[in-house]
C-alpha cells in the first residue's frame, strides 16, 4: 500500500502506478477539478467516510461513488478550504457565498472580500432582464436568440461579450429500450414499441432526417446572428482532445437527406408503424426545442405515421429518468462536458457498455442478441469489450 508516497524534505509527492499509463492521461486525470478535491482524511474518518488502507478498503471506499450510496455529510456539508464558503443555499433558487475567513490567499488566488450571489431563475427572459436592468453583473446560458439584444446592450456600453471555445458537446440520444409504463407517465398519448430504436435502420433513418446545416446556421444561429456559436461534429472525440478524428476521415457520417431516410425507414421494416413520442429537451433550452420541432416535422414528412413533439423537462428530471431498464425517454437532448481532456472521458461515457449513456439507453450486447440483432451485437461487442 505505497501507491502514493511523499517526502517533506524535497516537498514532493510520488504516485506509484500499478501499470504503465500514458503521462497525458495520468496528469489530466489527477488535474480533474471536478473530481479531485482534496479533503481532510481525519475529518472523513470522523463522519464515517474514511478509507481503510487495504486493497479491500479501497474497493469498499469506491462504493461511496455509487448514486444512493453517498455519505450525505460529505455530499452536502463538506469541510472545504477555498476562498469562499456557503452562507445560504436554497436548492434550485440561490446560493450566497461569503469569504472564508480561514483562507488568507495563495499565489494566484487572492483572499476575496466580497459576497457572491448566484440566482437560478425560471427562464432566460428573467435572467436577461436581471442583467439588462443592472441587477446582475454576469448572465450565463442565455439562448442564442438573445444575441441581438445582447449586442444592443454592448453597443450601449452596458455589456461586454467574450467568446471562447469549450470542451463540450451536445447530441440527441436514442433509447433502444424504452420503458412503456414510464412513457405513459410523460403523456398518455405517447406510444412506441420498446425496441423501436434498437433497429439500426430506424436510427440511421432518423439521423438522416436531421437537418444539420439548418440547425447550426439558423436554429443555433451562426449565420442568422453572424456569430460562431457552435460547430457541427461527428464522433464524441471533439476538437481540442487528443486523437480527434475529423468527420472527413470517418465513413457514413449522416447528412440531411429525407429521400434516403425514407428508404432506410422502409428497409427497417418499421415504416408505417405508428408512434407518438416526445423529443425531450432540458427546460429553458429554446434553441434545441426549436431543433426538435424541426426534426419532428421532417420525421413526419419521412413517415406520416411518426408523430413527435418537443417536450421540456428540467435537466434534473432528465437525469433522474436515466435509469437503466426503466428509461421512458425515447429521444432526448443532453451532452457531455469534459471532466478531463482525454478521449477516455468521452468514449467511455458515450460508447462503452455500462457507460453513462449506454446503460440507461439500453445498450448491451446481450439485449441486442436477445432481439436477434446479431450484427449490431457483434459490432457493439467489438467496440466495447
Amino acid at each position: 500500500m505505497n501507491a502514493v508516497t511523499y517526502n517533506n524534505q524535497t516537498n514532493t509527492v510520488t504516485f506509484h502506478l500499478v501499470k504503465p499509463t500514458p503521462p497525458q492521461l495520468f496528469f489530466t486525470a489527477v488535474a480533474d477539478p471536478l473530481g479531485a478535491g482534496i479533503v481532510d482524511a481525519k475529518w472523513l474518518e470522523q463522519v464515517g467516510a474514511g478509507i481503510t488502507f487495504t486493497p479491500q478498503g479501497f474497493l469498499q471506499y469506491e462504493q461511496y461513488a455509487n448514486e444512493g450510496s453517498y455519505n450525505t455529510q460529505v455530499q452536502n456539508d463538506p469541510v472545504a478550504s477555498g476562498p469562499y464558503m456557503i452562507k445560504t443555499y436554497v436548492p434550485g433558487q440561490y446560493v450566497v457565498l461569503v469569504p472564508n475567513p480561514y483562507f488568507t490567499g495563495v499565489p494566484g488566488i487572492p483572499a476575496p472580500n466580497d459576497t457572491v450571489v448566484i440566482n437560478w431563475v425560471k427562464d432566460p427572459q428573467t435572467a436577461y432582464e436581471l442583467f439588462a436592468s443592472g441587477k446582475a453583473d454576469i448572465v450565463t446560458l442565455l439562448p442564442t436568440n438573445y444575441f441581438p439584444s445582447l449586442k444592443q446592450l454592448e453597443a450601449q456600453g452596458q455589456a461586454e461579450i467574450y467568446q471562447f471555445p469549450t470542451l463540450s458537446e451536445f447530441f440527441f440520444v436514442f433509447n433502444i429500450n424504452v420503458s412503456q409504463s414510464g412513457l405513459k407517465t410523460l403523456g398518455s398519448q405517447y406510444h412506441i414499441p420498446s425496441d423501436y430504436f434498437a433497429n439500426l435502420y430506424v436510427r440511421e433513418a432518423f439521423a438522416y432526417a436531421f437537418n444539420y446545416t439548418n440547425y447550426i446556421n439558423n436554429i443555433v444561429g451562426n449565420e442568422k446572428y453572424g456569430f460562431d456559436f457552435a460547430s457541427p461534429y461527428a464522433g464524441v472525440i471533439i476538437p481540442g482532445l487528443p486523437y480527434y478524428v475529423p468527420p472527413s476521415e470517418l465513413q457514413n457520417v449522416p447528412t440531411f437527406n429525407l429521400t434516403y431516410a425514407k428508404e432506410l425507414m422502409i428497409k427497417s421494416g418499421m415504416y408505417n408503424v405508428s408512434i407518438n413520442i416526445p423529443i425531450i429537451v432540458p427546460s429553458g433550452d429554446t434553441v434545441d426545442y426549436d431543433a426538435a420541432q424541426m426534426w419532428a416535422q421532417a420525421l413526419n414528412e419521412m413517415d406520416p405515421n411518426i408523430q413527435a413533439q418537443p417536450m421540456y423537462l428540467p435537466f434534473s428530471t432528465i437525469i433522474g429518468l436515466e435509469v437503466p431498464g426503466q428509461n421512458p425517454m425515447p429521444i432526448y437532448y443532453l451532452g457531455w462536458i469534459a471532466d478531463y481532456p482525454y478521449p477516455s472521458d468521452f468514449v467511455n461515457a458515450m460508447y462503452e457498455q455500462g457507460g453513462t449513456y449506454p446503460a440507461p439507453d439500453g445498450w448491451s450486447v446481450q439485449y441486442l442478441q436477445s432481439l436477434g440483432h446479431t450484427n449490431q451485437a457483434q459490432m457493439y461487442q467489438s467496440s466495447t469489450r
Binding site: D137, L141, T166, F170, L250, N348
Partner: protein
C-alpha cells in the same frame, strides 16, 4: 477496443483504436451529433478577470469552460 485505446502507452495504437471506436459508434448511429458549442461570457463592463485576464475564465477544464471561478472575477 475502447479499453485498449484508453490504456495503451503506444500513441499510434491509441489513435487507431479510438478511430475504430468512433467509426463503430457512427455505423451504429448511437447519437445524432448536434453541436460543439462555443461559449460567451456576458458581463457588465465593470467586471474584469483577475489581473485583467478574463482568459482565466476560459479554462475548458472548468465545466468544459461553461463554469467560472468566482475568485477570479473582479468587480469595479
Amino acid at each position: 477496443m475502447i479499453q485498449e485505446a484508453d490504456t495503451t502507452t503506444n500513441s499510434t495504437l491509441a489513435a487507431m483504436y479510438y478511430k475504430q471506436a468512433e467509426q463503430i459508434a457512427i455505423d451504429l448511429y448511437m447519437y445524432v451529433y448536434a453541436q460543439q458549442p462555443n461559449a460567451f461570457w456576458v458581463v457588465k463592463p465593470y467586471m474584469t478577470g483577475y489581473h485583467g485576464q478574463i482568459s482565466y475564465e476560459e479554462n475548458p477544464m472548468i465545466g468544459g469552460a461553461g463554469d467560472s471561478l468566482y475568485y477570479w472575477w473582479v468587480k469595479g
